[in-house]
């Protein structure tokens, strides 16, 4: 399964962690980043902390995206449908997941609202689980029983 994240965000915990790390843990800035820091009249160390915070949060987004891909794959399998998940991409800018599954020899694209995934993974919402099942049934050809 290919996992990717498009866009970036910073969670408060990662911002805090990046601001507590010793300077020796900070990433080296590229020339473009050094130039941007200078343009912003921002100390390079402060800029590097922002870069680190973003890296930490991106790692978390990738983990979350992979977790959703695995959950979706299991959910499809549990419904007796032969359609493995091939790729999952978090489009963070538009807050949605773009998934491709392999079904009947072709790749079928699915788009899942990021809020649904958040409800499912962070709150364990039964309603979100039912919505995801309905999406699977509708898009992968199973009859939906009301």
């Amino acid at each position: 399964m290919d996992v990717s994240v498009y866009g970036s965000r910073v969670f408060g915990d990662d911002w805090r962690e990046a601001h507590q790390r010793p300077a020796s843990d900070l990433p080296a800035l590229t020339l473009a980043q050094q130039s941007r820091a200078k343009q912003l009249r921002m100390p390079e160390e402060e800029y590097a902390r922002m870069v680190l915070a973003e890296q930490l949060s991106t790692d978390r987004l990738i983990e979350r995206t992979a977790a959703f891909g695995n959950l979706l794959d299991r959910s499809i399998k549990s419904r007796g449908i032969d359609a493995p998940v091939r790729s999952v991409k978090l489009d963070d800018l538009h807050e949605r997941y773009e998934v491709e599954v392999q079904a009947n020899g072709t790749r079928v694209p699915l788009t899942i609202d990021g809020r649904l995934v958040q409800d499912l993974l962070e709150r364990g919402s039964a309603e979100a689980e039912a919505s995801l099942s309905r999406i699977i049934d509708l898009t992968l050809g199973r009859r939906v029983i009301a």
């Binding site: 290919d2 996992v3 990717s4 994240v5 498009y6 408060g12 911002w15 922002m50 891909g69």
Partner: protein, 81 residues
């Protein structure tokens, strides 16, 4: 698109520059790189680290001239089940 949890470049008015310098301890500049905590009708709440700890600073919408959000960034990795 929501701005919460995004790092943005914020271009503010001259008046805002002075206020941010005095109240938030930020260097006077045309633009700032800030993490937005959340937004509301009043403006955007940005995280600022000062000597006494973390602060949330409200920057009112009327002082915001432009917001620059980097979007062309993608990270990929293969994942073996």
């Amino acid at each position: 698109m929501t701005l919460a949890q995004r790092t943005i470049s914020l271009i503010v008015s001259r008046e805002a520059r002075e206020v941010l310098s005095v109240s938030a301890g930020l260097p006077e500049s045309d633009s700032y790189l800030l993490l937005v905590d959340e937004t509301d009708d009043l403006g955007l709440w940005a995280r600022v680290e000062r000597e006494d700890g973390e602060h949330l600073v409200l920057i009112r919408w009327e002082y915001v001239l432009a917001i620059d959000v980097e979007v062309a960034k993608q990270r990929e990795f293969g994942f073996q089940q």
